[in-house]
């Protein structure tokens, strides 16, 4: 599935079917919207595009020829790098499309007054997706650790090197924390150093 136009048609057809069958009559649909695909393009041997439906707007990534996503757990999140920054995609599966990955932009869709309104928002996303972004503008949620990390069962997702770029100028109130650590606040601290508490021993 490496031709973006074929992929777009396939996605369009699959969502039309879901809309008229499984989604028929449910309250959460925005009746002013219909299914529309746009911006389908090749990206790193895969195809990426955007789909608007009455219940969601999402970026959708289809597997390339070398990808085997069939073993991936449904609902798991995978980070993907774009020039504008990292976005987390969720492993998804649709009848007529198969396993793919989606990045939810809006759901439910009730804030949109018309198809054109939704289209304008979609175009805005597509216009900025491939533009080199300011790393400090990256959404912090891209780094949100899963529950297992909070329980201390995993550390892989806690990469402090990444966090250091989110708010590099965040002031540390001197009254609240006049620690030796405060003087190093502009320096990237390695996770290893943090876990060893080295910042507390210096100074």
């Amino acid at each position: 599935m490496n031709d973006p136009q074929t992929a777009a048609a396939q996605v369009q057809q699959a969502f039309e079917k879901i809309w008229h069958e499984q989604m028929a009559g449910i309250d959460i649909l925005n009746p002013r919207l219909s299914v529309q695909t746009l911006g389908f393009q090749p990206y790193r041997n895969r195809v990426i595009g955007l789909v608007i439906t009455p219940w969601l707007m999402a970026l959708i990534m289809l597997p390339g020829e070398d990808d085997d996503w069939t073993e991936l757990e449904l609902g798991k999140k995978k980070p993907h790098r774009f020039p504008s920054g990292t976005r987390k995609f969720m492993v998804n599966e649709f009848d007529g499309i198969g396993v793919c990955q989606t990045h939810s932009l809006y759901s439910p869709m009730h804030e949109f007054e018309s198809q054109d309104h939704a289209l304008a928002a979609a175009q805005g996303v597509l216009d900025t997706l491939m533009v080199e972004g300011d790393p400090s503008m990256e959404e912090p949620a891209a780094h949100e650790p899963p529950a297992c990390t909070r329980r201390g069962e995993a550390t892989a997702e806690v990469r402090l090197e990444d966090f250091a770029t989110i708010e590099p100028t965040q002031p540390v109130a001197p009254t609240a924390c006049a620690s030796p650590g405060g003087t190093q606040s502009n320096k990237t601290l390695s996770r290893r150093d943090l876990l060893r508490g080295s910042f507390l021993r210096q100074g």
Binding site: L56, P145, R150, F163, S179, G181, Q184, L200
Partner: protein, 373 residues
Amino acid sequence: MAENEFDFSGLEKRLSVSRRTFLKFCAGVAASLGLPGHAAMAMAAAVADPKKRPPVIWLHGQECTGPTEALLRSEQPSLEHLILDLISLDYHQTLDSGAGHQVEEIKKKSMQENKGKYLLVIEGAIPVKDDGIYCKIAGETMLDLTHEAAEHAAAIVAYGSCASWGGVQAASPNPTGAQGAPQVLKGKTVVTIPGCPPNPANFIGTVLYFVTYGKLPPIDEYGRPKWAYGRLVHENCYRRPHFDAGRFATEFGDEGHRKGWCLYKLGCKGPETYNNCPSLEYNNVGGNVWPIGVGHPCFGCSEQGVGFEKPMFSLSRVLTHAPPNMFPEIESREDVSGMSTTAAALTGAAVGAVVGATAMAAKKLNEKEGDQD
């Protein structure tokens, strides 16, 4: 600040956690708050320095003590150790070892001595009907006690749905005129941590932020910290692929329910409830233990106008993508609510059992409602 004040052996002893676990926890909290790496460092340092503990006055109004219970049962590092070590808990009716007028005196003394410096935590709703006589502590109404404590507080946190907007007490017909702290303390900034019970991680994150930076984190128009309540439960739900593709469970125990499909048609309020349950789950239990994780629709416990207001298994109706600022005030909804007193009471009872809710509970509630139609 002397070097030896950061002696980790003392910290390890005080918190009963290893240095590694503690710092990892700080890193996790900082990451959840969307803060950079040095925030974790600053938090660790702030906690390691016990002299900066802010005094805390903790009031209980109309409630079940669920938020405190939830806080005490969280683990790794033992959050109750952390919170008790982090703050100077000068008054807390559930945890104080003293009792009676002596404790009340200590509270008044602490509030006097720490004027403008203490953190006020309010747990439970505040009844205002008939001058607040429906909830009294040591002969004074919760209404008066709240105003008194709020006057010189450095910051006010409403912990739990009851304190945030009235919770189950404010459900129609609201016989005691129960309100949340933000409604009672008009004109003051009140940070709300709603939930029934609220996730202690959202409380501890907020307190850690306060202790570290000396100010409260950014909040939305409902006073909720944006880092915790910025997204719909639906947005990050692990069942989202099934919603996207239109795969719904339609009955408890049916094929879709057993396969873990989307619970929208069973009444899930995820599309109108702002909370971080999908990423934090609940109280470090692990194993995907939170309502949706165990197969029960989201009840909307943390969303004003949803939890205790909309029938538990009715379909979520979403009027706008940003429902919180569109909902009418609870008070003006009392008479239009489709929820009967019995249903409200049943729902209240069901919330406590929400994790263990079964098809039977659903069936019973439906029967009850059916009877009244």
